[in-house]
């Protein structure tokens, strides 16, 4: 683990270092471009801080091992890219249903299918939210620099522990593999999961205002019943009753939905009353922001908005923006975040600049801004 | 001091598979004429004096529905 200080490192390395700072003690993974650097680095470093590293036989096993580990009380993570993320979907849903804290880093690449392994893309935004079966909500974060690969990985662990839920880090090959200056702090703020305080027996239901039940570890003597099937508060499977399904699934959704103001995070500049607001995220948001700056230097009233949490989406803020300004979504895919942003801002005066395979120059986005303003 | 052996049959747990009856080496059990709530013919003790408390019935019952109890007199 790196000492506190400034480093010139890849985003993927920053992610791995952040995980260790946040207290990760288990990594189960499978190699895939462009995410492998995370596991390569942790295979070397994690054992040095007492963490367990294991390379599993596939991505399904990777996320399974991570969930198993989390139930013993360890902060646990995996890292992958599109094809592996697809394989993880069923067990991602399992983690949602069993309320298992864990972090899944998806360093997105160009798809569909094998696509272009070394090229960035953001086509997994919807999959990260809707890829597993059934009704659920999830937390997904979007970093746009090597530093944010660090900062948001820490936040991903904190949110996972705080809300007893899987958290997806939606990075992309751009931020994962670019080298930048990263400041590694001495300590990071760490969140620990809610533990049983007395002789509680209900670890899958709660009347707490945050909707988060306490979570004991395997080995604590609670004779836990953990199941991906619909269950009652004590974990007993109930695959038939209306009330069990209704109470559990509504709470799982509410756990994210009702806490969204605490979870939502974004960056914005000059949004208020702007003629045009450029919305962008991930590595693509860098040239988008540069283009906004350039337009402003030309005297244009253009604002910039970047969701740092993709899910829950900053819906309310996007709606306000859509009411007052034209919106231009700049993204590294054709369908990435488009439906959600379009839904939030309303379809009038909504424009898109999408690109595949590689990032644009600032000038390219700037031209699009001019075109929209014209 | 002699021991009195009592065989406790949980009629409502019993699914009437008959395994205990068959694997009792001493033919202590037989199928009842009565039915439980699931329409199963549970076993009943018909030759209690033959029981040697070997507990094969306990071992083979898939439903934990039969217990051999040794009570000291």
């Amino acid at each position: 683990m790196m000492n506190p200080g400034e480093y010139f490192i890849e985003g993927n390395i920053a992610c791995a270092e952040a995980a260790m700072k946040a207290g990760v003690k288990f990594f189960g993974g499978y190699p895939i471009t462009p995410a492998s650097e995370i596991m390569n680095h942790l295979s070397d470093e994690l054992p040095k801080v007492g963490g367990r590293f294991v390379q599993m036989e596939d991505e399904i096993a990777s996320i399974a091992s991570v969930i198993g580990s989390s139930w013993t009380g360890l902060k646990s993570m995996t890292a992958t890219s599109g094809p592996g993320f697809s394989l993880m979907q069923e067990n991602l849903g399992y983690a949602v249903m069993t309320e298992t804290p864990c972090v899944i880093v998806n360093v997105q690449r160009a798809g569909p299918s094998t696509g272009q392994a070394t090229k960035p893309g953001t086509g997994d935004v919807m999959q990260s939210r809707f890829g597993s079966q059934g009704d659920y909500e999830i937390i997904a974060l979007s970093p746009n620099s090597a530093q944010e690969m660090f900062d948001q990985t820490v936040r991903a662990f904190n949110l996972a522990e705080r809300y007893r839920t899987p958290v997806v880090m939606l990075a992309d090959a751009g931020v994962g593999q670019m080298r930048e200056k990263v400041t590694i702090p001495g300590e990071v703020e760490g969140e620990e999961r809610k533990r049983p305080t007395s002789d509680e027996k209900e670890f899958f239901d709660t009347d707490d205002e945050d909707y988060v039940p306490p979570m004991p570890d395997f080995g604590d003597g609670y004779e836990l019943l953990v199941t991906g099937s619909t269950h009652l508060g004590d974990g007993t499977r109930d695959t038939a009753s209306f009330s069990a399904q209704d109470r559990l699934v509504r709470r799982l959704v509410a756990k994210i939905e009702e806490n969204r103001t605490e979870i939502e995070d974004w960056e914005e500049h000059h949004v208020e009353g702007a003629d045009l607001v450029v919305v962008s995220y991930g590595s693509m948001s860098r040239p988008a922001k540069g283009a906004v700056q350039k337009a402003r230097e030309d005297g244009k009233d253009v604002g910039f908005f970047r969701p740092k949490t993709m899910w829950p989406s900053p819906e309310k803020r996007l709606k306000e923006i859509g009411k007052n300004s034209k919106v231009l979504l700049v993204e590294l895919s054709l369908r990435g975040y488009r439906m959600e942003v379009e839904r939030c801002v309303g379809s009038e005066d909504f424009y898109v600049h999408d690109r595949l395979n590689s990032l644009p120059t600032i000038e390219e986005v700037h031209q699009k801004i001019e075109e929209v303003l014209r | 001091m002699s021991e009195k052996i009592k065989i406790k049959i949980d009629r409502e747990f019993c699914k009437g598979c008959g395994i205990c009856i068959k694997y009792c080496p001493r033919d202590v059990l037989d199928e009842s004429d009565d039915l439980n709530q699931y329409d199963n013919h549970f076993p009943e003790v018909v030759r209690s004096e033959r029981c040697i408390s070997c507990r094969r019935c306990e071992l083979y019952c898939p439903d934990f529905a039969i217990e051999v109890k040794e009570e000291k007199e």
Partner: protein, 263 residues
């Protein structure tokens, strides 16, 4: 003394189970519980992981230990995470033949290759029972099932032999007819540092027995008459297939971690 009363009291919950009359599932539960009791393990040190299917319901919710009822086929992978994360836990995997050798076959192979210290009970009823009796990787060639109405065109998978070849420390096969031997074998598995795999032929009177005119008891008798503890050409061998010492994954991982601590 180990008897039904104490086993039921200490290890079994939510009974009566939903298993069919004469099903072998409850017998496996009984055998596992007795083996744990005999081994002297504390219950809180035992974790049970299962996948999907009838066999997965044996531990969850019926075994009174920590249970993780997971997704179809992935029990060995989830269990590996538990074991690596906390090696003090004795991790049991209860998995049906379809779950374990079909959809979960790859995890089974690599669990054995890693020789990770898990105790896997593959409860083999020869078909997919919960979904209606479809053909499984363990179904015999020619056998009729719900999805092989004209006879199984495929051949069966000798899971125990494959797991042995993949490197598991401890491999055995028994049936629910062999309750005493099964309990002893599970206890042996618990005491083995490495991957233990026990194939337990267990009767499914509803999906398999019925079409052959057999109830649970008839099937137990069939196991009795068609298996042998000797290597007999006409009968299915029951007993230990492998008992070897090999490096175990969890210990190797901890050895490396401890190497750094010593620095």
């Amino acid at each position: 003394m180990i008897n039904a009363e104490m086993i039921k009291e200490k290890y079994v919950r939510n009974h009566p189970s939903p298993f069919c009359p004469g099903c072998g599932g409850g017998m496996v539960l009984n055998a596992m519980s007795r083996a744990v009791e005999k081994s002297g393990l504390e219950k809180e040190d035992v974790a049970a992981v299962s996948g999907i299917g009838c066999a997965a319901w044996i531990p969850s919710p019926h075994w009174r230990v920590d249970t993780l009822h997971t997704t179809h086929g992935r029990a060995v992978a989830f269990a590996s995470g538990i074991k690596i994360a906390n090696r003090d836990l004795e991790v049991m995997v209860v998995s049906g033949d379809g779950d374990c050798a079909g959809i979960g076959g790859n995890h089974l192979l690599h669990g054995a290759r890693n020789n990770i210290d898990l105790n896997v009970l593959m409860v083999n009823n020869g078909l997919y029972a919960m979904t209606g009796g479809q053909v499984a990787p363990t179904t015999e060639h020619g056998e009729e099932t719900l999805t092989t109405p004209h006879g199984n065109p495929s051949s069966s998978f000798e899971a125990a032999e494959v797991v042995k070849a993949a490197g598991a420390s401890h491999v055995a096969r028994w049936t629910t007819y062999h309750m005493d031997e099964l309990i002893e074998e599970v206890e042996k598995a618990i005491n083995t540092e490495g991957f233990s795999f026990i194939e337990v032929l267990a009767q499914c009177p509803t999906r398999k027995g019925k079409k052959e005119g057999m109830d649970g008891l008839d099937m137990l008798e069939w196991y009795k008459n068609n298996t042998s503890k000797e290597k007999d050409r006409d009968k299915l061998y029951v007993g230990t297939l492998a008992d070897i010492e090999r490096p175990e994954l969890t210990q190797e991982i901890y050895r490396q971690i401890e190497g750094f601590r010593g620095d």
